[in-house]
């Protein structure tokens, strides 16, 4: 969504458009491999304009990216689905907390797609309570030895790097003993196993880390500061999940409406009443998203963002469930249970049964709806926290 208001910014938009056109005039994308073109685009500061100069950007307002993307329409593009973790989570974190050398080393191949990233945060024993995680990193000279198990890692089987949070000090309370690393996914001791999910496929992996050696220059931020660094990463993730604009009647609602309109014989009065309620809920959620983006554009971000992910998860689940029910006998069928790897969520290339099952994850991934309700209750409404049993207790003494 191009959000450019005010005379001052219009000049900037003209400038970035001119820069993009100059670049395109000087670079024939058909002349060489797409990678060369993407590297040159990065070096010209036209990758992500809000990044600093020299790191793929121009230090320009983020809103101007839309104008640049317009200019580059039809040229070689990266697969933003495959690169989602890198672009949405690793890059902002490296920019905010990385050393100059780390920024130089990682950001360019991250953006061009030469190096894919994955996320090594959740563990079997640390989901909503991420800070209780048990993967240990022990310092040994200029290296760290890492042992533990991570889970829900999408793309680990083709990722070059992983963003990793590990426990470096078990003797202090859980939030204080964590450190943030870049994990070399090709290092000895990194084992990736596909994790089959209820849809039949494996979008995610389990990652076992056994005696993995990581040089200290792969550490992001200070030792013991990993929780603060991880918070920045997670904040970026929720913005990415809840902030996508859709049109009225679009998204998951659109899939149900298409079937509803094409198949009058499937309609019932009960489904009609429920569908109309969901239509209204989808529309007010869409409008709340529009309002949120208007607040952001006006420089006054509202707290509505915390609620958008809850609302979309609920809608996706309710609508896809209604879609399966609507189809009656066809709803008893499923398109494909094959255990295969998939690299991204394909809501609309698959059947309603897949959408129904995959949408169950929407209220779990990226912060459960329950954790988000706690965040709203405590940070927006200012309600008191539950009494905590774990706040001032060394991690190693917590009951497990």
């Amino acid at each position: 969504m191009a959000v450019v208001e005010g005379a001052g910014r219009t000049v900037d938009e003209a400038a970035v458009r001119a820069r993009a056109r100059d670049f395109l005039a000087a670079h024939d994308e058909a002349a060489g491999p797409p990678l060369d073109f993407l590297r040159a685009r990065f070096d010209a500061g036209l990758a992500w304009v809000h990044f600093p100069e020299g790191l793929g950007g121009l230090g320009a307002p983020r809103e101007l990216q839309a104008a640049v993307d317009e200019e580059f329409a039809g040229t070689p593009q990266t697969d933003t689905g495959r690169l989602a973790i890198g672009l949405g989570m690793a890059a902002p974190t490296i920019l905010a907390f990385g050393t100059p050398a780390q920024r130089q080393r990682f950001l360019r191949p991250l953006w061009t797609g030469e190096e894919v990233w994955c996320q090594l945060f959740s563990e079997p024993g640390a989901g909503s309570d991420l800070a209780t995680l048990a993967t240990r990193a022990v310092r040994d000279g200029d290296e760290w030895g890492v042992d533990g198990q991570k889970v829900w890692t999408s793309g680990a089987h083709f990722a070059r790097w992983g963003i990793l949070v590990a426990r470096t000090d078990p003797d202090v309370p859980k939030h204080r003993g964590l450190t943030y690393f870049v994990c070399d996914m090709r290092a000895p001791g990194v084992e990736v196993r596909p994790l089959r999910q209820i849809t039949g496929e494996a979008e995610f992996n389990e990652v076992f880390l056994t005696g993995v050696r990581l040089p200290d220059d792969l550490r992001i931020g200070e030792v013991g500061d990993g929780w603060r660094v991880a918070q920045a990463t997670l904040m970026s993730e929720r913005v990415a999940i809840g902030g996508t604009p859709i049109r009225r009647g679009g998204g998951m609602l659109g899939a149900v409406l298409a079937a509803w309109r094409e198949r009058p014989e499937l309609r019932t009065h009960d489904l009609h009443q429920r569908l109309l309620r969901l239509w209204v809920e989808a529309e007010v959620t869409r409008l709340a998203g529009v309002r949120l983006r208007q607040q952001l554009a006006a420089g006054a971000p509202g707290p509505e963002g915390s609620g958008m992910k809850i609302a979309f998860a609920r809608l996706n689940q309710e609508l896809s469930g209604l879609d399966v029910e609507l189809r009656r006998d066809e709803g008893l069928a499923y398109d494909d249970w094959t255990f295969r790897r998939s690299e991204s969520v394909d809501f609309f290339g698959r059947g309603p049964g897949y959408r129904y099952l995959r949408a169950k994850g929407n209220s779990i991934e990226g912060g459960t709806s329950e954790v988000l309700r706690n965040i709203i209750a405590e940070r927006v409404l200012g309600l008191p926290a539950e009494p905590r049993a774990d706040k001032d207790v060394p991690w190693k003494d917590l009951p497990r």
């Binding site: 409406l257 509803w260 309109r261 959620t285 409008l287 706690n374």
Partner: protein
Amino acid sequence: MTLLYSEVEEELRSAVRDLLADRCPPAAVLAAVVTGPGMGAAVPAGSVTGAAAAPGPGPALADGAGTGAVIADGAAGSGTVGGLWPALARDIGAAGLLVPEQLGGAGATAREAAVVLEELGRAVAPVPFLTSSVLATRALLGAGTDAARELLAALAAGETVAALAVPFGTSPYAPEAAWAGRVTVAGGRLHGRVPAVAGAATAEVLLVPAGGALYAVQAADAEVEPAVSLDLTRPVAAVVLSGAPGRSVGPNLRPVRAALELGAGLLASEQLGLAEWCLATTVAYVKERRQFARPVGSFQALKHRLADLWLAVAQARAAARNAADALARAAMPETDPPPAAPAEPVSAGVTPAEPPDAVPPGAVPVTVVPVGTASAGGASVQAARAGAGAGAEVAIAVAVAQAWCGEVAVTVAEECLQLHGGIGMTWEHPLHLYLKRAKADQIALGTPGDHRAALARLADVPGPPAG
């Protein structure tokens, strides 16, 4: 389109909020309702012309002496809690907000009226803004008569208060039910009975649909029978006409349809204000109230419910703003440009009459764009089509806002009561005023189900085939 509040709107909000904080705290509203109809105490003499105090179920439970009936104090005839209405109507100029400047109003839009309604809902203020300054005012806008213009000027000046004599539950999608067969007119005299009219008890002028036209009747010439009402702060009354003289103020009922749509769209903002008060009050309460040696607001079971309410209110805010914005962008007839190719010269005066009432029941309510020049050639046909599209956009925005906000206000008020525990069940706590208003508002100007049924048509979500 912007769903945010402008600086001007925020200034207006501040002015209204300051006045309400000063003149209309919840305790004052509560005190004011205890001698209303059905309270077991007589309505003060002279408060409502021709009114008889309705029989009440029991004795007065509180000392309400001297506080006056809820919506009527005899001195002003349109007074409320401590002279609130005159201050709101005249000093702040709320009465003339939607009236064009050439008639002495502010020439503002639905967006500003919506902000006023948010604050009035937040204070559950017993004032006739919605009934007189929105519904009755919009029914006169576009009527195209000198009589309507005179009345609008008087309304804008805060000199008089009017009410649209249709049942408050009238659906904007089936308004015929509101007037069909209720009131007959013969020789300028009206006969009939209209039940459940909001704002009738404080109105000096009643706008009565009869025989396909709109008539102004002096309340003194009618019988207004206050009903024992669910909503204590906006009670309803029956209007009984037994040969009351009526002055024709509008040749057709098209502006009345527009009024119902505008009222439904703006009611969402009142519901938003009600819900915001209930949520804020509950959040404050659960932070204070301690059980099991901790604030009850620290229990996750309650926090999650409040987080869900907060989300529903955030969605309600977007929906109510969207409806107000859509209504504001659809020009009022006073400010409409003349039709592209008028078939006949517009008669003298600043107000072109809206075209004849020719919309079939259940059709898309094209309420605010003149479409009556079908014989004038291609340009106006295109304009009419464009108008129909814009009208549908407005209708969708209104239906969405009312379908959502009508439910949310009730839900938040009900949760507010439950999360207050026992104190929430008492008469002394003001939250019951909000619950009663929210429940009545759910019915007012179409139930949420009426608005969803309209969306089935407007958004192409048809029901099962007949048969």
